[in-house]
């Protein structure tokens, strides 16, 4: 663990940028068709609960980073083993997000550029940022947060003013009843993006005002969920369900539909700007968490030394995990959200919380006697 201080506002900004990250770009919860936004909101509720679990664990061990309390709860060897798996999980997810990003850039703007180059450039920037420490990442986040929201609001206004939104596209609501929504919410949106907030348990120990972590965290996740739901609703409103579900990147198609005053058209670049920034933060935070856990379990004093080798691993992983974008997506949906995510994002934290609860109750009852 490095010596760093993160303010509550910085935590808020990081959570928001992280949650919006890649989720805002892909057709999130589109399996629920025009009710995608409802599915996102229902997933949000579960996501808030998952955040609360991580927060409770943090409250039991406010001074310790997750790998340290894992060692405490499960014993030295088992704890280290588990923490090691989390390193791999975080690096894998970082690589996945990076791959998403590279594919996107290649699909719509840089068709002839090799994937490796595009990913490598961003990864180098991420390595540079992470090697500067979490404080610098957080401050950069503060800086970009405003500009991202500024872009988002401008985009929203432009879409509204060019009269693109047809709310009829969102009707009929609940066409198939509540079941498909619940299914999408609990097999997809719960994990991606809301459950992913587990990485922030690596950042909690840096926060000076511990009591407000819950409030700020829940608020940030809630806001990000609402933002995502609004975005998806706009996407469907503009494109219709069919086009939104066939689009690889519905937000891009939405932005491409903007035509204002014969001057503001083809605003792809603004999409790209916000995309690069969001992805930068998402990968940075995942990557930072992986580096920080590794630094703790291998007892390395300067985590920044780990950034180069681990960054290279993430980079190569991002290029090799799948041979095509379709395979990449399928891997994410079938392998990721079905087997990996429930395990790492839900079951383990719940188990840890259970053990922590029992251990601490024992201790406190001992103290009473």
């Amino acid at each position: 663990m490095e010596k760093a201080k993160i303010s509550l506002y910085q935590l808020f900004v990081l959570i928001l940028l992280f949650e919006l990250g890649s989720a805002i770009l892909v057709p999130l919860a589109i399996d629920a068709k025009q009710d995608a936004w409802l599915a996102i909101l229902s997933g949000l509720i579960g996501g808030l609960f998952l955040f609360w679990i991580n927060y409770r664990l943090f409250l039991y061990y406010p001074e310790l980073a997750p790998p340290e309390y894992m060692q405490k709860l499960l014993g030295k060897i088992a704890g280290t083993f588990l923490a090691f798996w989390y390193i791999i999980f975080f690096m894998y997810t970082a690589a996945r997000v990076l791959r998403d990003f590279g594919e996107m850039l290649l699909t719509f703007a840089y068709l002839e550029t090799p994937l490796f180059i595009v990913n490598a450039l961003l990864m180098l920037v991420i390595i540079y940022a992470v090697s500067k420490g979490i404080e610098v990442v957080a401050r950069t986040g503060e800086l970009f947060f405003v500009s991202i929201y500024f872009l988002a609001i401008t985009g929203f206004i432009l879409i509204v003013f060019s009269g693109l939104i047809d709310l009829n596209n969102l009707k009929p609501m609940l066409e198939e009843g509540i079941f498909p929504i619940a299914k999408v919410a609990f097999t997809q949106t719960l994990y991606f993006p809301f459950g992913e907030s587990i990485v922030f348990s690596m950042i909690f120990p840096y926060i000076t005002k511990r009591k407000s972590v819950k409030k700020v965290g829940l608020f940030a996740i809630g806001l990000s969920g609402i933002n995502l739901a609004i975005t998806m609703a706009i996407n469907i409103g503009v494109l219709g369900v069919d086009l939104a579900s066939r689009s690889q990147f519905p937000l891009l198609s939405t932005i491409q539909s903007i035509q204002v005053a014969e001057f503001l058209e083809r605003l792809d670049v603004f999409f790209m700007i916000s995309m690069v920034i969001c992805i930068f933060f998402k990968v940075s935070i995942y990557f930072y968490a992986a580096v920080a856990i590794a630094a703790v379990i291998f007892k390395i004093k300067k985590p920044s030394k780990l950034t180069y080798p681990m960054g290279m691993v993430v980079l190569f992983m991002s290029v090799t995990i799948a041979s095509s974008y379709a395979e990449h997506l399928k891997e994410g949906l079938e392998f990721g959200t079905r087997y990996v995510h429930p395990f790492f994002l839900v079951i383990i934290p719940m188990l840890l919380l259970g053990i922590a609860f029992i251990k601490n109750r024992k201790r406190s009852s001992h103290q009473k006697i």
Binding site: L105, A109, T113, V125, G133, M272, I273, V276
Partner: protein
């Protein structure tokens, strides 16, 4: 040839070796001899018989011989004549019982600051800083009288940071004048001044100034320690100090602020910053510096708040234009042609049709030739300056376009960039924008807007990682300190700016009282009470 070179370098080595002990030999304070002739000889030897070291021999009343030594030019010769030489020669001491120095000190020398000196080191230090030395035969002491003076540049309007509204005085090369200019503005005993001499050869006076109780003690201590740490032979300008005490040496961004304006220094001292004043330069350093400071001008505080805010937004925009404009042009014309409206694209394409270079080369040609012109314009003697501008306008503007080497659109871009660069208020930031711009141009030429965005992220991470005396460079935006946001890109009116910058001032007191917002209640009555009465009558 090789032999001679070899021997030369050997000699150099020897010289170096010889030099060191010689310097060290100087260090222990050597006491003065008692014989006047010996003293004079020693001075002559040490100063190499320099012609400006004046040694005036005198005869004291009791027949003892004495000498006044001073350096011509840096000592005030009028004061020496009137209050030193004349009074010594006129005085005929009666009571020989008293030591001669007592008499000189108490009765003869009519000058403010007189000290006794017993060793050579201090004697030379005083002599070389413009004081006069009085030597008396048979005494192992000397007197130094403060006669510092000589010719100085008078206080003038500063050449950089010109304002329309605001005080017209600027710092000069003399440290005392400069401290006085600040003291006149802050008439408070809490304004503390610490002096030190830095530079083993130049022995330059360096003062740090701060307001006790407003400046944070840790920062004052940090500045002091960093100044004390300096080991260097010479300090000729405050830039020397800046390079030796800044937090991050590998950055194009300045982490100390420098200014020629005393009102600016006073304003910064009141915010809790520390000023470092160096003798021999009108540029005063201010630490810690934050990024947004370089986009503020003193005039912002004298003018209206709303206008100042608008101007600050403009300056931020200017900064981005001067960094990104050519890069964006390259990116748009070589990668993202879909962005521009068709008509504009066709117009640009028509211009580019005859240009034989890729956009990057075209931009580089223009930018580099403009940089050459600018550098030439700065270094040229004034008389030839206009010739440069004519040649520049012709070459860059018209001929290059007519020859089909660059397109008119590129000329527009370069012109906008250049003017934007001139409009940045702080030269230190403007010049770093000039450099960064080329990096962005290359990034844009290889990866279009993706390259530019990555560049912006790197720039942001870099700026976020910078610190100035421990204070994050982007304070108060990142980390966000809402209480201090009133004086950043926006400038709130004076009555609304209550808090000092939190990261470099401990002082929690409000800067302005409560309810200072102007609340005129009588204005209507003041203008025309008769009219007001009429209004009421109508209502009735």
């Amino acid at each position: 040839m090789t032999m001679s070179l070899f021997s030369l370098s050997k000699k150099m080595k020897k010289l170096k070796i010889q030099k060191k002990p010689a310097q060290q030999h100087d260090l222990p304070a050597k006491a003065l001899q008692s014989s006047l002739q010996e003293q004079i000889d020693y001075i002559k030897e040490k100063t190499g018989n320099s012609i400006d070291v004046v040694i005036r021999k005198l005869q004291l009343g009791d027949g003892k011989s004495a000498a006044v030594v001073f350096v011509e030019g840096i000592a005030d010769s009028k004061a020496i004549n009137d209050f030193l030489i004349e009074s010594i020669m006129n005085k005929h001491p009666v009571h020989n019982s008293q030591p001669i120095f007592e008499i000189l000190l108490k009765e003869v020398v009519a000058l403010g600051d007189v000290k006794e000196i017993t060793d050579w080191d201090n004697l030379y230090l005083s002599l070389m800083s413009g004081e006069s030395i009085i030597l008396v035969d048979g005494a192992q002491k000397a007197l130094s009288a403060s006669t510092r003076g000589g010719e100085h540049r008078s206080i003038q309007e500063p050449g950089s940071q010109v304002t329309v509204r605001g005080p017209r005085d600027g710092f000069t090369e003399s440290i005392r004048t400069n401290t006085a200019l600040i003291r006149r503005r802050i008439q408070n005993p809490d304004l503390w001044l610490e002096n030190m001499k830095i530079g083993s050869v130049t022995k330059t006076d360096v003062s740090m100034m701060y307001i006790k109780g407003i400046a944070k003690d840790e920062i004052v201590e940090e500045v002091r320690n960093r100044l004390k740490r300096i080991e260097i032979d010479s300090i000729l300008e405050s830039g020397y100090i800046e390079q030796l005490i800044e937090d991050q040496p590998f950055t194009t961004f300045p982490t100390l602020y420098h200014t020629e304006r005393p009102d600016m220094v006073a304003g910064n001292l009141l915010e809790g910053r520390v000023a470092i004043i160096v003798n021999g330069t009108p540029f005063v350093l201010i630490a810690p510096a934050v990024f947004i400071q370089f986009f503020q001008s003193v005039e912002d505080y004298y003018g209206r708040a709303d206008i100042a805010t608008a101007l600050r937004f403009l300056r931020i925009l200017i900064f981005f234009i001067s960094i990104i404009a050519p890069a964006a042009y390259i990116a748009v014309t070589t990668f993202h042609q879909e962005m521009i409206p068709t008509q504009l694209l066709v117009a640009i394409a028509a211009q580019r049709e005859t240009v034989p270079f890729p956009a990057l080369v075209e931009a580089l040609i223009m930018e580099v030739s403009f940089e050459i012109l600018r550098e030439a314009g700065v270094r040229m003697p004034r008389a030839v300056g206009s010739a440069i501008s004519i040649v520049g306008a012709l070459v860059i503007g018209q001929a290059a376009v007519q020859a089909g080497i660059v397109s008119p659109a590129m000329v527009i871009i370069v012109a906008i960039t250049a003017i934007a660069n001139f409009a940045t208020p702080a030269f230190a930031v403007a010049i770093s924008a000039r450099l960064i711009r080329f990096g962005f141009m290359f990034a844009a030429a290889t990866f279009g807007f993706y390259g530019i965005i990555l560049g912006v992220i790197i720039l942001a991470v870099h700026l976020c990682s910078l610190r100035s005396f421990g204070v994050p460079y982007l304070t108060p935006m990142a980390p966000l300190i809402p209480a201090n946001l009133g004086d950043t890109i926006v400038r709130l009116p004076m009555w609304a700016q209550k808090k000092r910058p939190r990261l470099f001032s401990d002082n929690k007191e409000n800067r302005v009282g409560d309810n200072q917002k102007p609340q005129p209640s009588q204005s209507r009555g003041m203008v025309n009470s008769a009219l007001e009465k009429g209004d009421q009558d109508e209502q009735n």
